[in-house]
């Protein structure tokens, strides 16, 4: 009997020792699945097309940057990149300024029906974008905005992102003590000064979180960007440009890989340094869900 329990015990002990190893084996093999496609496309991006078709596993003969240069000039990736940067910067600045002001007024300026306004923001978040883009396209075309470079894309991104960002920022504003503002008001400080000199410095973290969240959306959006640039070839953002690129050079895999790497590697670097904010943007974003 006692040997029996001892045996059971030792089996259990053995199991416990096996578990951490099994755990790591699974995790490391999964990591390979996660990063191998990116590494493979990096390797392929240095090859010529002939090299690639001769043996897709072989290492490149020379580390040539021909594909990158070609993607940059012939594939216009550089131009698309600049377009995307302009769109992202203008959108993000507008979203944050507008949302900060709206959130501040909701949280601290005694606006009535705050609850209802927040509910409306939630509801807007739930609607699929498909229900918006057709009329929005018609409105923009009636107003003659579609010909303007960047503008139709930026306007939509700002309008779609402001409600969610406002809700998140309002929750952060709520945590700032009212007394701080009352004191400032008694000292005769104006509201704009209150907002930028007193409240915002306290909210750097929250604001960075929102910027990262909005950036992920603005940088990656394809459906509206594609729709809004149906009639023009100017000011295409990276996502749309990449699809055109695929249509043009679809079978030239090394060139495609160079284009993919030019987008993915900077993003990984950004992510490496800002991971904290990416994670907090996730939990902050979940407030709206």
């Amino acid at each position: 009997m006692s040997t029996n329990t001892a045996a059971v015990y030792s089996v259990q002990k053995k199991k416990v020792k096996v578990f951490p190893i099994a755990c790591r084996v699974i995790l490391i093999s999964l990591i390979l699945i996660w990063i191998y496609p990116v590494l493979f496309s990096l390797q392929t991006s240095f090859k010529t097309l002939d090299e690639f078709f001769a043996n897709i596993w072989a290492l490149p003969h020379t580390i040539g940057l021909d594909n990158f240069a070609k993607a940059f000039t012939k594939g216009h990736i550089g131009e698309y990149f600049i377009n995307s940067v302009v769109i992202a910067v203008v959108s993000l600045v507008s979203i944050e300024v507008i949302s900060v002001m709206a959130a501040y007024s909701l949280a601290r300026l005694r606006i009535p029906h705050t609850g209802a306004i927040i509910m409306l923001c939630f509801a807007i978040q739930l609607l699929p974008t498909e229900t918006i883009i057709i009329p929005l396209y018609m409105m923009m075309s009636k107003l003659g905005l579609l010909g303007a470079r960047y503008l139709p894309i930026i306007l939509a991104y700002v309008g779609w992102s402001v409600p969610g960002t406002t809700v998140i920022l309002k929750n952060f504003f709520d945590t700032i003590p009212k007394e701080l503002l009352e004191a400032a008001r008694i000292d005769g400080s104006g509201e704009i000064r209150n907002l930028f000199k007193i409240v915002l410095p306290l909210m750097k973290g929250a604001l960075s979180t929102c910027i990262v969240m909005n950036f992920t959306f603005v940088w990656g959006e394809l459906m509206w960007a594609k729709t809004a640039t149906l009639t023009t070839v100017k000011g295409l953002p990276l996502t749309v440009g990449l699809m055109n690129f695929k249509g043009e050079f679809g079978t030239d895999w090394p060139l495609m890989c160079a284009a993919i790497c030019m987008i993915v590697i900077p993003l990984y670097l950004v992510f490496l340094f800002l991971q904290k904010y990416f994670v907090s943007s996730l939990t902050a974003g979940s407030v709206k869900g």
Binding site: L109, P128, L155, P163, E191, G220, L222, L282
Partner: protein, 311 residues
């Protein structure tokens, strides 16, 4: 005399307070104005117009004409449109299931390794989330291509040639594959949320179970999963919401083809509107799609609710 003076000052104070509230509200209104203008322009008016448009017949050039629910009956009678919605549902289902299983599994595994290791794993598993869906799609067309694709070549290399497949060209298969890729990308979100949930659990819960000799499997089943259920639920609704955004990934991977076998609802809607200029029909289709998505979200929120534990 004294009393009236006091009453007067109180009154004045009150008035002052009211007027300062008014003033703040006025400033608040001004501060909120840009947000109201842009949100009204970019979402509220379009959404309302979309509903109006769905009851009208319009080719974008001639005058709009009201035609009742004809658009809706047309969509329900049109096999291609219904199929497109079905395709979207399949992709969303596969993507959500993949993301939840992978994400919860990963978080449970990562919880068991040391801190530094865990940070590396989390970085890697979360990284696809910040890549644009279209780039993920492009990367995976390279992985899944029939002849020169990575997966088929690996299968050939390890002697599993009979498993090689035209991943993105077979009916049914293409939807599952796209769903898997989308789920793979979202699994990072689930992993991160559930992991933060698990490390938020009080440590003494585990101490007593360790004393009782519980294995990790038992701990997971009886302590961790029931307690992080609210987080899992949250992750689930976030996943479902993103899983229905089937435009980007499908467009970048197959463009709806070959033929029509992966043409999901968003692609169909855009085609109806901007290729065939049937704006009313497309609007009706998008309204139906939105209603389906919202119903599913509501059912999930009600159905998966259940009991929550206090700790």
């Amino acid at each position: 005399m004294d009393l009236t003076a006091k009453a007067m000052t109180v009154n004045v104070n009150k008035k002052k307070k009211i007027s300062s509230t008014r003033k703040l509200q006025l400033i608040g209104g001004l501060f909120g104005l840009p947000a109201i203008v842009i949100v009204t322009f970019a979402t509220i008016i379009p959404v309302i117009w979309n509903v109006v448009l769905s009851f009208c017949n319009w080719d974008g050039v001639s005058a709009m004409s009201f035609n009742g629910i004809a658009n809706f009956t047309k969509i329900f009678a049109d096999r291609a449109s219904m199929k497109a919605i079905g395709y979207s549902l399949i992709i969303a289902l596969v993507a959500t299931a993949t993301a939840m299983v992978l994400g919860v599994g990963l978080s449970l595994l990562i919880y068991k390794v040391t801190k530094l290791e865990g940070a590396i794993y989390r970085f890697v598993f979360y990284s696809p989330v910040m890549l644009p869906l279209s780039v993920v799609g492009l990367l995976f067309t390279l992985v899944l291509a029939t002849d020169e694709g990575l997966l088929n070549n690996i299968l050939g290399l390890i002697g599993l040639k009979n498993l090689q497949n035209a991943w993105l060209a077979k009916k049914g298969m293409v939807l599952v594959v796209i769903g898997l890729v989308q789920g793979w990308r979202s699994s990072g979100t689930v992993m991160m949320l559930v992991y933060t949930g698990i490390i938020g659990l009080p440590a003494d819960l585990f101490e007593s179970s360790k004393l009782d000799g519980a294995t990790y499997g038992q701990e997971v089943r009886h302590i961790i999963l029931p307690l992080v259920k609210p987080t899992i639920q949250l992750a689930l609704s976030m996943c479902v919401m993103s899983a229905f955004k089937t435009y980007d990934i499908v467009f970048s991977m197959t463009g709806g083809g070959p033929g029509d076998i992966s043409k999901t609802a968003p692609l169909k809607i855009i085609e109806q509107a901007f290729m065939f200029n049937k704006y009313g029909l497309a609007a009706a289709n998008s309204v139906i799609y939105a209603i389906i998505v919202i119903i599913i979200l509501a059912v999930l929120r009600k159905g998966v609710g259940g009991d929550k534990y206090e700790y």
